[in-house]
């Protein structure tokens, strides 16, 4: 059984993101957070019962069993397994597009969601769109593999509008990054 590797998720995301941005200072700061993580490798779970509980990306959670692939304006759209906020698809944007006038955050929290069409897990970057008042359409709060702030890249409560001209949260997108490794 595979375990969630928060460091690997963050690293994959960062590598793909690095080629598309010039925000070096921000990357450098983010690097501190992510590079520091390997100093504290994911611990081997000491609970004797851990082998029985499947927390892996492939585990068919309640969300995964009811997810669909046709309507990205619904909270049960498969990519939204760990999204928290207003769906940009309902606010004039798209599943990976910010609405007009908003600005995508260059960093994000991440999730691993199962596409029910092929049964495989994919890495999703939940990138906030920033710089406008909060959109009040299609509020969702899904929590597959969502953790607390000490693992920030897996926490969906944080306002991720870092490196944008305004930190005002508007809505959230779900950008497909890669197959989960």
């Amino acid at each position: 059984m595979k375990k969630i590797d928060a460091d690997a998720l963050g690293e994959t995301l960062l590598r793909r993101f690095a080629g598309r941005t010039s925000r070096r200072s921000l990357l450098s700061r983010l690097g501190i957070a992510l590079v520091a993580a390997p100093a504290f490798p994911l611990l081997p779970v000491s609970r004797a019962n851990a082998a029985k509980a499947d927390r892996s990306p492939e585990a068919k959670t309640a969300f995964a069993r009811t997810a669909q692939t046709t309507d990205d304006t619904q909270c049960n759209y498969w990519r939204y397994c760990a999204i928290d906020g207003a769906l940009c698809t309902c606010c004039g944007g798209g599943v990976h597009s910010c609405p007009a006038g908003a600005e995508p955050s260059p960093v994000s929290w991440v999730g691993s969601c199962i596409n029910p069409d092929d049964g495989k897990a994919y890495l999703i970057a939940y990138r906030d769109c920033c710089g406008k008042p909060m959109c009040s359409q299609c509020g969702c709060d899904n929590t597959d593999r969502e953790t607390q702030i000490y693992t920030p890249q897996l926490n969906n409560d944080i306002i991720w509008c870092f490196g944008t001209s305004s930190m005002q949260y508007h809505c959230s997108t779900a950008v497909l990054v890669s197959a989960a490794q």
């Binding site: 100093a39 019962n49 944080i158």
Partner: protein, 389 residues
């Protein structure tokens, strides 16, 4: 009637009303004393009061008397602010962020200080940055002696701002990679939970602050410990709970000692939910503020719901009352409406304060579970109570 004429008539009517108000008006009886506007004051914070944040993107922290169910006042705060008490009862502290042009312009991060008796602004202590998230007690803590404030920051590197409340100034920022969820630790400064499953303890006063890590004791990704845990100043102890319902106790100090965890489900006679296989349904703790401890009686109050794993934000449909000494669930209180936040007042007659995502509050008698008050529009955010000295 044309629009312009309508507006003119409306303006005249308003002026006439103003005139009546200012001279008393001919209809006012001779023996009625005219009133003047004034402003009330409050007592210093009391143990039976609950302080309820407005919730996501809502300003203000409302104060309620849990005995009467009545609102006492409101502390100013911006949305995504964090609230804390001066332990001496003189000040309320608000860690917050504002921009010079409302939603844009120059960002300003500060701890804002208000007198408790008149709720007037006393000063603003500026600092470099802070996390924008809300819904957490552990992102802004005050040392037991009231001298220091610690503000968590994610920018997106992880650090802590140190505030000197005696001098009313920001002192320094301490880098804290891989950790968050701050806990007062009067022996050295503060502690925090970390992504490697350890507790970090930070010696603040040193010229170069030192960070010591405990051995890992929980899994941050497979069975995380909820933030919004409970710190007991008198016992120097922190009670924490994981997603599967494991209860941890940490004795704070220069080298904190963390007890072996035990299961809330086992304490109620069920199987440990950490042993559940995928798809199994069990009773789990959940909500955004899922637990509270009444320090005097050693009772832990937990919002519980039936669900599967990864349902950790689901609101509670029951409160499980756990006796921490005997490690038994002593009582289960069925809720009329699911609740996402829970806190308990710290006096000898404790009251439970609950609220839901719509901001509706409920006060229960903590001994009997009986509903004392319903409070519409109480606030949808974190609930705070004064801790015993």
């Amino acid at each position: 009637m044309k629009l312009a004429e309508t507006r003119l008539l409306a303006s005249c009517a308003a002026l006439a009303l103003l005139a009546i108000a200012s001279i008393g008006g001919p209809a006012v009886a001779q023996d009625v004393e005219s009133e003047t506007s004034d402003v009330l004051k409050l007592e210093p914070p009391r143990p039976e009061w609950a302080f309820v944040d407005g919730g996501f993107m809502v300003d203000g922290t409302a104060i309620f008397d849990t005995k009467t169910g009545k609102m006492k006042g409101m502390v100013n705060s911006s949305h995504l602010a964090d609230f804390a008490f001066d332990p001496a009862g003189k000040y309320y502290y608000v860690s917050e962020t504002i921009w010079s042009k409302g939603n844009r312009g120059t960002r300003q991060d500060m701890v804002t200080v208000y007198y408790t008796v008149d709720l007037k602004l006393q000063t603003e202590i500026f600092m470099p940055d802070r996390i924008l998230v809300g819904e957490r007690k552990q992102n802004f803590i005050v040392s037991d002696d009231g001298k220091w404030g610690f503000v968590y920051n994610l920018s997106p590197a992880s650090s802590v701002n140190v505030i000197d409340f005696a001098k009313r100034k920001f002192v320094k920022t301490i880098e804290l990679p891989g950790c968050a969820a701050l806990i007062p630790n009067s022996a050295v400064g503060f502690s925090a939970l970390c992504s490697d499953g350890s507790m970090a303890t930070v010696t603040v006063a040193a010229a170069k602050p030192t960070i010591a890590h405990s051995a890992p004791f929980f899994s941050a990704t497979e069975d995380p410990i909820f933030e919004n845990f409970a710190y007991d100043k008198a016992k120097q102890e922190t009670v924490m709970m994981s997603y599967t319902g494991l209860i941890y106790t940490a004795k704070m100090g220069a080298t904190p000692t963390i007890s072996a965890p035990w299961s809330i489900q086992t304490a109620a006679g069920y199987a440990n939910a950490g042993q559940t296989k995928p798809l199994d349904v069990a009773w789990y703790p959940g909500g955004r503020q899922p637990m509270a401890v009444h320090r005097l009686s050693g009772k832990l109050y937990v919002l519980m719901h039936m669900g599967e794993y990864w349902s950790h934000k689901a609101p509670g449909t029951e409160i499980w009352v756990v006796d921490l000494a005997s490690k038994k669930v002593a009582k289960r209180i069925v809720l009329h409406e699911p609740a996402g936040h829970i806190e308990v007042t710290q006096g000898k007659e404790p009251k439970i304060f609950l609220n839901d995502e719509h901001g509706n509050g409920v006060v229960l008698d903590a001994e009997t579970g009986k509903e004392d008050h319903k409070i519409e529009g109480a606030g949808a955010g974190v609930i705070h109570v004064l801790s015993p000295a």
